[in-house]
């Protein structure tokens, strides 16, 4: 089983991002997804900066994948997409059907069907596999049982990647909720996301942490964590675990996942240890076919 670092969801200053990926190059991950997938206004990292990061990671032995923008609105978004698809060195994760279309046009045969493509059944997987998708990133809301059902009916079976850690990307909008909070419009947002390294917590009126506002993206408040479910992930034949970036303890988290995958620490112990590294309480409901925010203790 491989370990992947998913695409960065937040907007950080360029140097902070460079430092983050310098640490990642030293970490025990196999695959790193790079690029801006949330908001086209974010420009601290230019496309060339991402290519620099990608080359450093590749030299460190990582498989690098460029993750495409989830919500494409303008012709300039499409231009960036065409550049991503046009480069010959790295795989692309398609997060939108425009990316799929561009990959088909360019004749790519080795791309990743991203979690927002909504692949929920074997027939849709076959549509994308016929067009060159070789890895499937499971939509986070999909339960283990449904995933198993899809895989049992797939021939050939794609490589399967499951989001196993991080605040879950739950929704995308044309509207920017961070700008809205500051009574700003998206077009003149003053790049307020830069001041919120892990988004802005949204609580209910009785103080329960519910969601996280991250620009045009809405995330869970709780941190999805499948470390305790590792035996089930392995039994289902999951090939890759995706961990999503956060601002603190990233090297420790990746190391912990590595040890758990390699069998150097029991999953339950790894889950217990991860508690100290998480910014909020854990949840794993989606994997169990329940509301995502719920937490199920894996049966011993």
């Amino acid at each position: 089983m491989k370990l992947a670092l998913g695409p960065h969801q937040y907007y950080w200053p360029r140097q902070a991002m460079m430092d983050f990926y310098a640490d990642v190059a030293e970490s025990p991950v196999d695959i790193v997804y790079v690029g801006e997938s949330v908001c086209s206004r974010r420009h601290e990292m230019r496309l060339d900066d991402w290519f620099d990061v990608a080359r450093v990671l590749a030299e460190a032995g990582k498989e690098v994948v460029f993750s495409s923008l989830v919500l494409i609105e303008s012709e300039s978004d499409l231009k960036v997409l065409r550049k991503l698809v046009g480069q010959p060195d790295f795989r692309v994760e398609a997060n939108d059907m425009a990316a799929v279309q561009a990959l088909i046009r360019a004749g790519h045969r080795h791309w990743v069907a991203g979690p927002t493509l909504n692949v929920f059944n074997p027939e849709t997987m076959a549509v994308f596999a016929d067009q060159g998708a070789t890895r499937w990133a499971v939509p986070p809301e999909m339960a283990r049982e449904a995933m198993d059902g899809l895989l049992a009916a797939c021939e050939p079976r794609p490589e399967v990647e499951v989001t196993a850690y991080g605040r879950l990307p739950l929704a995308y909008s044309a509207r920017c909720f961070t700008a809205r909070h500051f009574n700003l419009q998206k077009d003149t947002c003053e790049f307020r996301c830069l001041q919120h390294a892990e988004g802005m917590p949204l609580k209910t009126r009785e103080g329960e942490a519910f969601l996280t506002l991250n620009g045009i993206q809405t995330q869970s408040a709780k941190v999805y964590n499948l470390l305790g479910d590792l035996p089930a992930l392995q039994a289902s034949g999951v090939d890759v675990l995706r961990v999503l970036p956060q601002s603190a303890h990233m090297p420790e988290l990746l190391a912990l996942f590595r040890r758990a995958i390699d069998g150097d620490i029991a999953p339950a112990d790894a889950f217990a240890q991860s508690q100290a590294l998480m910014p909020e309480a854990p949840c794993n409901g989606f994997w169990h076919g329940k509301p995502g925010l719920e937490q199920y203790v894996a049966a011993a």
Partner: protein
């Protein structure tokens, strides 16, 4: 030069009486769903049986109108046959088009019923001409419904770059999130628009009068609390009041409806082929009110052209049936974003 065909008015019906009302009030097309999870308005007491569907189709066809079937949720391996069977039934009954979101289902429909017209549902999240052209080239879709995401110039740009007819939302409940890209309801309740055809489903809703006001909860999560002077709204989870920093406010969206009536001439000029009215879960009275106003507006536009002006009584009628009795232009108006 060929004359541009008039904009089609596509109205919702959650029941046979609503369908008849929509047809009688001037809908060109009525969109409907069966009583199961195959469509994105899988609400208790709503939608069509085989018998009511047949009667609805006959009623509409006798009057020269069309019936479009929404089959716009994403099936999974375990329930796939229910969706394909529904497509077969729809083709057999003679619906004028099926509205699909799932590529696997489109391939099935295209191969099994080549004469069946395919529309791309808003749940397909296609926000660019490249995405729409993918569905066109792969499955031969003839129309796409745009998510409520693009500004007016962006809609126009899409239309210029695709052979696919474009349908946009004109009126009704407003999804703030990109349709098909929202798991908020699944996160809170385990039921999602994508897989179950439901958002913030009623069975998870609780209304509670408390000393601090009327509280609305979704699976136990407090969505809003209303003072005695406020009208308590349904707890759709993106339209509650939440605390962010020191402020408690409608952090995602106010309870409001989309209303683009004033943009109708611009939408027509941009080449929009059809206007969709949201609200299969609403009453026949709503369907009648909204259909009448939009029928009148589209006919007036055809007659008056550049001299078209929105009638104040149209806006009053629409505001009366709006969520929160207010309206917005949504993403068509850039500052909304």
């Amino acid at each position: 030069m060929t004359a541009t065909p008039p904009i089609e008015l596509v109205c919702p019906a959650g029941s046979l009486p609503a369908l008849k009302t929509a047809v009688d009030a001037g809908a060109d097309c009525v969109y409907v769903g069966f009583k199961n999870a195959t469509n994105a308005r899988n609400f208790t007491g709503l939608n069509f049986t085989d018998a009511s569907m047949r009667e609805g189709i006959r009623y509409a066809h006798d009057r020269g109108r069309k019936v479009l079937l929404a089959l716009n949720t994403y099936p999974q391996a375990g329930n796939w046959p229910e969706w394909t069977k529904t497509i077969d039934t729809a083709a057999d009954m003679g619906v004028d088009a099926v509205i699909l979101a799932d590529p696997g289902l489109m391939r099935y429909a295209n191969r099994t019923h080549p004469a069946l017209r395919l529309h791309l549902s808003v749940q397909g999240s296609a926000t660019s001409y490249e995405a729409i052209n993918f569905y066109h080239e792969q499955f031969g879709i003839q129309r796409a419904v745009l998510p409520r995401v693009l500004s007016l110039p962006q809609v126009e740009h899409v239309i210029k770059n695709t052979p696919v007819e474009i349908e946009v939302f004109g009126f009704g409940g407003l999804c703030v999130m990109v349709e098909g890209r929202c798991s908020l309801s699944a996160y809170a309740t385990g039921e999602s628009p994508n897989c179950n055809g439901a958002c913030s489903p009623g069975k998870h809703v609780r209304w509670e009068q408390t000393p601090t006001g009327m509280e609305t909860r979704l699976n136990g999560i407090l969505i809003d609390r209303f003072g005695d002077d406020e009208r308590a709204g349904y707890p759709t989870l993106c339209k509650g009041r939440f605390a962010v920093g020191d402020d408690t406010y409608y952090a995602i969206e106010e309870p409001t409806s989309l209303n683009t009536l004033e943009l109708l001439p611009d939408l027509a000029r941009a080449g929009v082929r059809a206007i969709k009215i949201e609200g299969r879960q609403r009453s026949p009275a709503y369907v009648q009110q909204v259909t009448r106003v939009w029928r009148a507006a589209i006919d007036r536009l055809k007659a008056d052209g550049e001299r078209f002006a929105v009638q104040p009584e149209w806006m009053t009628a629409l505001n009366n049936v709006s969520e929160g009795q207010s309206h917005t232009l949504g993403a068509y108006y850039r500052p909304w974003k």
